[in-house]
């Protein structure tokens, strides 16, 4: 707690002291006061003493109220502020979930979608889109900040990606050409899902869940798609559930995916299980948010509640005292 205009305090105290001094001087030498002798005729009366005691008590209350009022108003005028240093998180992120819906991926996809279904409830200003691909890519919904709609869509997606589902309508349009996991085409479609860059700077990222088990001939290779992403300033975060390589014998497919992801300034995660998706998604979101943090800002928030509350209280006391004294 600090005072913004702290110099008001000594000034105000001096002013109050001056006023009190002048009033005191004036009451000392009030003209029009009549000298009377044998005042004990009145002052010795018990009823007078009682009345004076009551009067004096209420005057004391009034005086204390006035001083408290002056003090608290002065304190409020000096603007007590709470200083806080905050790093504002800019909520202008664009995220496209790019899910490979080939048979080997549904577990991971479900986990990814479930995590984002939860994350989206806390979004304020972020935009999210969902594209699924196998041999061809289908945009389930484009980038949007209509979170109600997004939540509905993600719920549908979770249901459809569940292994127990009977309906495969959700995947319609992903088998239009022969092949499977045409990942380069999928990623390129996702990258094309971002609008052209305009004035407002927004962070763009793609959550790419795939195992890079390419079968067939894609239009774009993964490397070309990664190049597109890089050109469009899109970072690719890849999640691979089927990375069976080790440090000594790297999985060729996995290492290709890793190279593509890191070339876009993104990251690569080899998933141990679908349960790990949650922590990874959070991590990715955190790093994306951290990229956009602005300069630390020192904010001062006024805290006038206490002095103004005291002022109100003292006003009440003053009112009561004046009423009683005038009686």
């Amino acid at each position: 707690m600090a005072l913004k205009y702290w110099w008001l305090l000594p000034l105000g105290v001096a002013a109050i002291a001056a006023v009190v001094f002048r009033l005191w001087r004036r009451t000392r030498q009030t003209p029009g006061r009549v000298p009377v002798a044998h005042a004990d005729r009145l002052t010795a009366l018990p009823s007078y003493q009682r009345a004076v005691a009551v009067q004096r008590r209420w005057l004391a209350v009034g005086l204390a109220s006035v001083l408290l009022l002056a003090g608290s108003v002065l304190a409020a005028a000096a603007r007590p502020v709470q200083a806080a240093t905050t790093v504002p998180e800019q909520l202008n992120r664009d995220i496209i979930l790019c899910l490979d819906v080939s048979g080997s991926m549904v577990d991971t996809d479900e986990a990814v979608v479930a995590v984002f279904a939860e994350l989206v409830t806390r979004f304020k200003g972020e935009r999210i889109g969902l594209t699924i691909f196998d041999s061809t890519a289908v945009q389930v919904f484009p980038l949007t900040d209509d979170y109600g709609f997004v939540a509905g869509q993600l719920e549908l997606a979770v249901k459809a990606l569940n292994q127990d589902t009977k309906s495969f309508d959700f995947f319609d349009g992903t088998y239009e050409v022969p092949g499977s996991s045409l990942i380069g085409d999928g990623l390129a479609s996702c990258v094309r899902g971002f609008p052209p860059e305009s004035g407002a700077k927004r962070s763009r990222s793609v959550i790419l869940a795939t195992d890079n088990m390419l079968a067939g001939r894609p239009v774009f290779t993964l490397a070309e798609a990664a190049g597109l992403a890089k050109k469009a300033n899109v970072r690719v975060h890849a999640l691979n559930p089927n990375d069976y390589g080790s440090a000594d014998y790297p999985d060729v497919a996995a290492s290709g995916l890793k190279t593509a992801a890191t070339s876009t300034d993104g990251s690569y995660y080899a998933l141990e299980s679908a349960a790990a998706v949650k922590s990874i998604a959070h991590k990715v979101q955190a790093t994306e948010a951290a990229r956009l943090q602005g300069a630390a800002v020192r904010t001062l928030s006024d805290q006038p509640a206490l002095p103004l509350g005291l002022a109100l209280l003292s006003l009440a006391g003053l009112g009561a005292a004046v009423w009683k004294v005038r009686q």
Partner: protein
């Protein structure tokens, strides 16, 4: 230049026309001059003269009532005993300053005395000290006495009438006509003792200058106590219950004083305003004559 005395005399002329003044004169003469067997002169009767002093034969001869004047047996010395503490600078019942009423009363009685060739003196004092201006029979001296009374100020030491009375009892020798100029003092045992002694030594007249009312409608809006210089919340005393208590207390206080004075054969007059002075002093002399 006897300015105060001039003022007193002009006020006497304003408040009492010629007849009333003569009345006062006769009253003073019959009360204090006394009479001997040595015939002095005959003069025209003025109301207030003793009826038994009328020389009926001379009256029958001239057709005008005449009274016999005798050479006074007693040379009366008038000694004013006044409280000259700061109480006298306080307000009187009528709103004036008490010392002004005291000056007028002293001037009226003093000039009466001087008219009859009686010297006047003053014992004055407050809590710290007391002193006296010995009796002399000229107007300049009376003026000096009035000036001393008029010099009372709020910044003077506090009042103590009992101390002044004690001083009088110790220092004023011989029988005098003592005129006490006091305000509403509260009598106590010490005061009663010294009064008893004084009453045995002298002839006493008691002029009480009434203090300002402190409660009820006549009270000043804002007062301060000359004794302690503290404020007196007279506004509070507008409360009817408190005003009632006050009236009772004041009446009680006055009864105590009146009883004490009566017990010592002292006549009392209460003056609250300068307009009451001439009439009040006439009444005082009348009462004093009856009390003897």
């Amino acid at each position: 230049m006897p300015s105060l005395l001039t003022a007193v005399k002009s006020r006497m002329n304003i408040f009492a026309h010629r007849l009333a003044l003569g009345l006062l004169d006769g009253e003073y003469a019959s009360v204090f001059r006394g009479r001997s067997l040595d015939f002095d002169e005959l003069r025209a009767y003025v109301p207030g003269d003793e009826v038994r002093d009328i020389d009926w034969k001379a009256t029958a001869r001239t057709g005008v009532p005449l009274v016999k004047r005798y050479v006074a047996t007693r040379r009366q010395q008038v000694m004013f005993v006044a409280d000259t503490g700061r109480n006298m600078a306080a307000a009187a019942r009528g709103g004036e300053v008490k010392k002004d009423i005291a000056v007028l009363a002293m001037g009226v009685l003093g000039s009466l005395a001087l008219n009859h060739g009686d010297p006047v003196g003053l014992v004055h004092g407050d809590r710290r000290s007391a002193g006296q201006l010995p009796a002399r029979g000229n107007e300049r001296h009376l003026e000096r006495l009035l000036c001393r009374m008029d010099a009372v100020d709020v910044s003077d030491p506090p009042s103590d009438l009992t101390a002044v009375l004690e001083y009088t009892a110790r220092h004023v020798r011989g029988r005098r006509l003592v005129v006490v100029l006091a305000d509403e003092v509260a009598v106590d045992a010490r005061c009663a003792r010294v009064l008893c002694r004084l009453a045995a030594q002298h002839e006493i007249l008691w002029v009480q200058l009434d203090d300002a009312e402190l409660a009820g409608p006549g009270a000043p809006a804002r007062g301060y106590d000359v004794a302690g210089l503290g404020p007196v919340l007279t506004l509070l005393a507008q409360d009817p219950k408190l005003a009632d208590d006050y009236a009772q207390a004041v009446a009680q206080r006055h009864r105590a004083l009146a009883a004490l004075l009566q017990g010592n054969g002292i006549a009392l007059v209460r003056l609250g305003h300068t307009s009451e002075v001439v009439g009040g002093i006439f009444g005082l002399l009348e009462r004093h004559r009856r009390a003897r």
